[in-house]
Structure formats: structure tokens, C-alpha cells
Symmetry: C2
Subunit: 506 residues, 2 copies
């Protein structure tokens, strides 16, 4: 039953990180690219993870007073055009619906027919269509704040797709709020970013840096874009969620006006905020290893898989019954408010079975054979430990301790990722060091570089652009925790008031 | 504080049922048509209802071994063409994506650009795109059964839209399964129909007739379409869910093959089944009255609204605290596995407030004033009773009994709807009686007719078509409970082996 390492993922992370990413997903059976260009199929193992993330986020949103609604998939071009920066940002990559039926042509081939008077685009985001509804619904300050969220699919036509990280269609939530005052809208922007930070850190075990985007990197039409940024194992940054203060831009564009308590007519102050299935990509790239995916227990598609060893006719039935009884007791356990998710895999396929579950990233694997049954014990492997580091434990003790073990795995993953983030984040003041930090050590491995640099920036878009062109490095954010500190811009050497986070990014 | 009936819905059901339907939805704030043709906005009060329905259905699906997944929004035309009946059924009403960006033309107007080589349609249903995945995933009988479900939006371009009942975009679930044997697929078809029957009857309090569709009414590409049919208050039928046995049609079209245990190569046997936001329309038309929506407790957006009476400065704070305390205790109560959903409406707007909640259909309204507080009681109104029929009850007693009251409301709604269905269903053998049954009593009220007729049908499509052309009446289903009984076809008078259900339908 011992298995050679040759069933692990090829290539390894060190050999070829981007290719490892594709292979680790394939091996986990979470998702795959579909024959429809740029669109993915999320398979049950991946979708269950997403369902757990949705539930956690949805509960947190609702706890802040947000309610869910649903708005149309299609947006008339005229709506998109209302906000100039916005249309600029999305017109280049949207699916356009131009016809409403198919007919056979003279060669008996189906072709589009029934041309629409005004083409529709498939929503890339819904500020404009939701803004139109808000303008109809909001009359008075008594109608405010308006706090809505939508779980939906969106489409942004992508030429270079990468599963979960950049796909033409993806699943997300988009929150949209309207407030009577600027300050209240700004507070909501930060409040929702904080929900994202909690989601990333407490549920996904991904430590994040929070901050504000530079003008060049902000959402088209926003006044302030705040973000959570995580470090992947190749030391590149992943923007894992954004929360935007939109000022009165969209309120003016859509006509969201209200009568104030003073009986004056005012424009509303709006926010929007979203996270998507991209977070799954971030989770994979943060925790997984050369053996496959590693799922943090709080969102894992399953917490534990039971693997009955069914090799002898005389004992198979009793081993199976013993396994079922354990599953039943485990499912009655509560883990952070939800019943434990337990899988049983009773296939008799040798070591492949164990490897399948390693690759799927299930936190705990429990082997149960006739000897374990006789000893009233189980044989446990933790996904966060070496494969050899397995242990036998009394069944009752295991059932009593499982949630504790899961919490230990959860916090261990977070701690490990936090160490990695810290180890690979550096204050850099010397331009040469900065250049070296972001230059591949080996030209054949372009992904290997230093990590996050906290360096001074004068605040000018030219310097930001120059760094990007030179090194393919962007300002990930102006971190909220930055200290006022004078220094010299890493690009031009001029006066700077503090450090920003530079990194290569997904 | 007494309110005249003139805040009820106009027109009444009797005056103009279709218009009443629009008005009752408007008054409830559940949903509205959007400026995007045929698309609706589901507002928070309507979406919360949908969320409750989703949760109930999802739990029932999972209990039968079904897992969720997600497939692309877009379907290449070539996929749709694979099944001849299928493309025939959907080509006439689909949104076609032909371009992937927008550009400015010479007049500075945005126009579609980046023409696609092959146009895509927005999924009207996903048999073909999911079939393509199944063909890739399924190799052996060991991979079967494959039991998947998807929660998604779909688009069927509608020229005449009616909110919830017929919209171009709607939300639904579509289950898709593959089996090794015909019998297993047929069993699954009926199993899922039975889930829908339970959903309709136990959760939505809508009694349904179950049966099989005639050839003319079945799903394009199916061998057998089974359905649940409900009777609305205007005595028209609503098809509220369908479950299809697809034979090997889609397996052949998509190439879903597997190696059997006998090592032969076989085509899979598939099923698909779906319910949609249309069910919400059915719920509204089954239970609501001339005062507004009536929501069955099992799925109600809220179970109870607390209405503190805040008219005196001296007592406002204590009434509010008393209300909050009651809300807290109610939210700890469990109703069929979920915490009670409690709203507090503290607006000081007189009787309008009470009416708002009548129109929203919340099962229980609880008024709480200083006198109630002093007596440690609350003042309760049930949405299923006359408005005058309100009662004072000790607070603790109310909290202790609330789930019982909700169950009573739930079963009362079901019983009432069942009586209505029975009263308006008749065995009709005489063609003249049949004609009269389906002819308006008053030509100015074309909706008023007899209900469901259980009549003989010879089984020929011509007769079915003739009845439809003559009376706009269709065969809703060949009911599962029909008795073998010889008789004369209601259209042609020839030999028939049993009765089918005829009705006008949505």
C-alpha cells in the first residue's frame, strides 16, 4: 500500500508554478476550462467550496443589515455610457447580445436573426443597472441607507484565461449601497472591506494587506478603491476583494436623488464591493503543495473522508458498518455552526484512493481496517502534515477531538501563510535593490523574484507607470497601516510621505 | 387608527385577475419589471422568499445524492444543433451574443465590435453544454449514476412578459443525471418530480396534480415529461415544475458513452428536471387575496413583524426595549429547522404601516403598545384571518405557541387551496358541457371559466390540437392516478382508455 511520490503533482511549484497551478486543479477535480472560450465548469468538489464561502460571506453581509436582491443580466449600452470612466473600463471586454433568435439560412445553417434595436451587454458589473433601480426607489432620506447585495454571474471577455483567476464568466457577489452622507458611505466602504479581510483570514486562512488603490489601479468610476491583497507562493500578489467608495459619480450618472431631512434635494453617496470565484484561485495558490490542493477546514468541501479498507469478505460488512457508525456520529458534530461534512470512499482501488483525497485537499483522511475496528480505533492522516506522520487514535477520542484538530489545521495554515508573507515583504529604499528584488534570479524562471517591496513613492502617476513598464510591478495598495515617513521615491528620488506596497501581480 | 378598505388592492381578483396580479406584486414590493425588456428585478422581499425556497429544495436534492456544480452561461450554436427537437424548441427565443467588445463609431456612438467566429447563445437550458461535459467525464459504469444540479439564470426571449410567470431572464435550478439503465433513469425522473410535489405541497402550500405530458406538450428532446400542475384562483392551470426522462437522445447527441460491467460500450440514459422563480408566481396566485400577498410560513420572507406603537415620548423607549426583547426571544425559536425570521418596523406612520405588512403577506403581525407592555401581552393579527379577527395574548404564551400558530396557518392555506382545486375539477363526458365549462360566462370577463375538466381523450394529437384551437384549452397532463376506464374522446367521440386533465393554462 505504500505509494511512491510519483503520483504527486507534476511539475512541482519550483519547476513551473503556473503549470503546477493548472495541474493541481485538474488533479483535485475542482474545475476545468470548458469548450466555450474563457468559461469554466465548476465541478462538485469546487462548487461545494464556493457554497461554503457564499454561506459565510452571506451571513456576514446580513449581519451588517445588507439584504439580497437580483437584477437583470443584460445592460443596455445607453446605461453603460452614463458614467464616462466606467464605460471606458468595460467596453473593451464585454459580451454583446445583438439578436433574439436563430433562423436557418439558405445553407440550412443556424444564424442570428431578430436584430435588437439597442444591443445589450452581459453585465460585467451592475452599478449602472442597479443605479437605475435606486433612482426609481429612493425618494427621501427615510429610504436610506439602501443596502443591497446580489449573487450573480458576470462576464468580462478575457483573451488570456486562467481558471478561477481570470475567466470570461465568473461567479461573484456585488454589494451596492446608497447613503445620505459622504461619511456614512466611506464608513460602509471600509466596513465591507473588513468583512472581506475576515473572510480571507478567518475562513480561507489567507493573511491579507489592506489598503487603498492608486488612481491608476482604482475601479473605473470610483473615488476610492480599497482592497485586500494576498501573497501567493510564487510571491506574486493577488487582489482578492475590493470595496469602492463611488462618491456621487454613479448617483449623478443614474439620477439617484433624495429629499434630505432639511427638505433639500441631494444626490446619494454610493458604494460597491465584490469578491468572486477568484478567491478560490487565491486559496489554492496560498496553501497547496506539490501533492495537491490543501483546503482550510472552515470552508473545505469536506472536513474528513473515511476510507474503509475492504479487502476480506469476512470482515467487509463489519468494517463498513463500523465506518458508517463513525460517519453518523461525526455528522452530528458541529464545527463553527455547521455539521461536519463527512465523505465515505469505499472504492477498493489501493493507494490511488488515498492519493485522490490528498489531491483534493481534504483536511483529514481516516483509514479504517479490520485491525482498527478490533482495537476500536481509527488511523488518521492530516493534510497539513507529512504523509508519513500518521497516527492511530481511539475512535471516541478522535470523534471528541476532531473539531479541535480542524481548528489546529486552520490556524496552522494561516500562521504558515503569514510567515511566508512576512519573510517575503521587505522595506526597500535603494533603487538598485528594488530592481534586483523584482528581477528574476534565473531568466528561465521568470516567476521567481523577491516578493512585496514596501518602498517610497512620490504619488505621481508617471512614476507608477515607469515602474510598471520597467519591471511589470504595480502598486498593490497604499496600506492603511502606513506610517508618515519622509523618504525618496523609488523611481524619481523626489520627496515621498510614506511607503506603498509594490509587487508583481495576478 | 382604523383603516378603510380603500387601501386594499385595486382592481380586485373578481374585477380583473391579471391586473390584480400585477398590482398585488407591486404593493408587496417583491419585484418589478426592469427597463431591460422582459427582465425583472427581484427586490429583497421577493428574493428572501426565493432564498427560502432554494434552501428547502437544495436540501431535498442533496438528500437524494445530488451535488451542485456550475456550467457556462454561453452555449455555442453547434451544441444546440446536436439534438434536432431541442434546437427547434429553443432557437426561436434566445439571446444571441455575436460580439465581444464595444467601439465608438464615426458619430462617437458605442457599437458592437470584435465579431465572434461562432455566435453564442445565452443558455435557455443546459442539456447540451452539460451533456458535453458528461461525455468527457463518464468512462465507465463506475462513474454512474452522475447526479448534478445547477442553480442559475437562464434566458428565453419572451415577447409577452408577465412578472415571475414569463420573463426573458429567470432564475431556476436544472438537475441533470446520467444512469447506466433505462429503469434507473425513469425512477430518478419520478423521484425528482416527487421532490417538486413535496416542495409545492409542504412548503408552498400548493396542492398539485402529477402526471405525464402529452407528446405535444413535452420538453423538446424528452421521451417522457412529467409535471406538477396547480390551479390558480382564476381556475387556470400553472405548470410549476417538470422532470424529464430523456432516454438516450441527449446521450447520443452529446456522445455520453460508458463501458458497462459486461465491458460493452453503451449510451447513458439521462434525465433533467427544473423549477424556477415561476413558482413564486404560482404561490402568489394560489394564496393571495384582495388585500395583498399571503405567504405560507414555511417559505415566508419573514414569519412575523413586530410593530411597536411609538406615540408617546415617555413610553417609546420602554416599548422599544420590550419589542427588542421579544424579537430576541423569537429569533431563538426554531421553526422547521431554521430560526424564526422576525422583522421590526418602528416607523411612526399610522395605519399605513399595518397595511404595508398585510400587502407583503407576512403571516403574523404583532402590535405592541404601552398598554400591551403593561399587561405583559402582545396584540396579534393573522394574515389568514379577517382583519378584525385580532387577539391579545400573553407575551410568553405567544412566544411558546408561535410555531404552532404558523403550522396552523400553513396547513390552513393548503386545505383552502385543496378545496378550491377539488371544487373546480370535474369529470366531464358531454362535449356540450365541456364547451360550456371552458367558455366565459361573461364575454367581458374572459378569464372566468370552469376550472379543470377530467375528460376522455383518444390519444391523438389532432384532437388535442382541435381542442386547443377551439377553446384555448390544453391537456395539462395524463394524471398518474388515472383509472383505466373506457369512454368517448371529448373531441372526436372515439374510443378512449381514460381521462386526462384539460384546462386553460399560464
Amino acid at each position: 500500500m505504500t505509494q511512491k511520490n510519483d503520483t504527486a503533482i507534476r511539475p512541482t511549484r519550483a519547476e513551473n508554478y503556473p503549470e503546477w497551478y493548472q495541474q493541481v486543479i485538474r488533479a483535485s477535480d475542482m474545475a476545468e476550462l470548458s469548450p466555450v472560450r474563457g468559461c469554466m465548469v465548476i465541478k462538485p468538489w469546487g462548487y461545494a467550496l464556493w457554497e461554503n464561502m457564499v454561506r459565510a460571506l452571506d451571513d456576514m453581509f446580513k449581519a451588517t443589515g445588507v439584504r439580497n436582491a437580483y437584477f437583470p443580466l443584460f445592460i443596455p449600452i445607453s446605461f453603460l455610457e452614463k458614467e464616462a470612466e466606467h464605460v471606458e473600463g468595460f467596453a473593451k471586454e464585454c459580451a454583446v447580445v445583438t439578436h433574439h433568435k436563430l433562423e436557418k439560412d439558405e445553407n440550412n445553417r443556424l444564424v442570428p436573426a431578430g436584430k435588437l434595436n439597442e444591443p445589450l451587454i452581459v453585465r460585467p458589473t451592475s452599478e449602472t443597472i442597479i443605479g437605475d433601480a435606486f433612482a426609481r426607489w429612493i425618494k427621501s432620506y427615510r429610504d436610506l441607507p439602501m443596502l443591497l447585495n446580489q449573487w450573480a454571474n458576470v462576464v468580462r471577455w478575457e483573451m488570456r484565461t486562467r481558471i478561477f483567476l481570470r475567466t470570461s464568466e465568473f461567479l461573484w457577489q456585488e454589494g451596492h449601497t446608497v447613503h445620505a452622507t459622504k461619511q456614512e458611505a466611506i464608513d460602509r466602504t471600509y466596513m465591507m472591506l473588513n468583512v472581506y479581510k475576515r473572510m480571507a483570514e478567518e475562513y480561507l486562512a489567507i493573511p491579507v494587506i489592506t489598503g487603498e488603490k492608486s488612481v491608476a489601479e482604482k475601479f473605473p468610476g470610483a473615488e476610492i478603491t480599497t482592497c485586500i491583497e494576498a501573497m501567493m507562493q510564487d510571491k506574486k500578489a493577488l487582489q482578492a476583494g475590493t470595496s469602492h467608495f463611488l462618491g456621487q459619480n454613479f448617483a449623478r450618472a443614474s439620477g439617484i436623488r433624495f429629499q434630505s431631512a432639511m427638505e433639500t434635494e441631494e444626490y446619494g453617496w454610493t458604494t460597491s464591493w465584490g469578491v468572486s470565484t477568484r478567491m478560490i484561485g487565491g486559496l489554492i495558490m496560498t496553501h497547496s503543495d506539490d501533492n495537491g490542493i490543501v483546503l482550510p477546514p472552515r470552508v473545505a468541501s469536506a472536513h474528513v473522508v473515511l476510507l474503509p479498507i475492504l479487502k476480506k469478505k469476512e470482515t467487509n460488512d463489519s468494517v463498513m458498518a463500523y465506518t458508517q457508525a463513525i460517519a453518523g456520529r461525526l455528522r452530528q458534530q458541529n464545527y463553527h455552526g455547521t455539521p461536519l461534512r463527512v465523505e465515505i470512499d469505499d472504492r477498493n482501488i489501493g493507494g490511488t484512493r488515498n492519493w485522490d483525497w490528498i489531491k483534493k485537499g481534504v483536511p483529514l483522511r481516516v483509514e479504517i481496517g479490520p485491525k482498527d475496528m478490533d482495537a476500536d480505533s481509527v488511523f488518521v492522516s492530516r493534510r497539513d502534515r507529512e504523509r508519513k506522520d500518521r497516527f492511530s487514535i481511539q475512535k471516541d477520542e478522535f470523534i471528541g477531538k476532531i473539531t479541535e484538530i480542524l481548528d489546529e489545521i486552520q490556524s496552522g495554515l494561516y500562521e504558515k501563510a503569514l510567515c511566508f508573507l512576512k519573510e517575503n515583504t521587505r522595506d526597500i529604499d535603494d533603487p538598485d535593490e528594488f530592481n534586483a528584488f523584482f528581477s528574476p534570479k534565473n531568466p528561465e524562471e521568470p516567476e521567481i523574484h523577491g516578493g512585496f517591496a514596501r518602498s517610497h513613492w512620490c504619488g505621481r502617476a508617471e512614476c507608477e507607470k515607469a515602474v510598471k513598464e520597467r519591471l511589470n510591478v504595480t502598486i498593490r495598495c497604499i496600506p492603511f497601516d502606513r506610517k508618515e515617513q519622509s523618504g525618496a521615491c523609488i523611481q524619481c528620488g523626489e520627496e515621498s510621505q510614506g511607503r506603498v506596497v509594490f509587487a508583481k501581480a495576478y
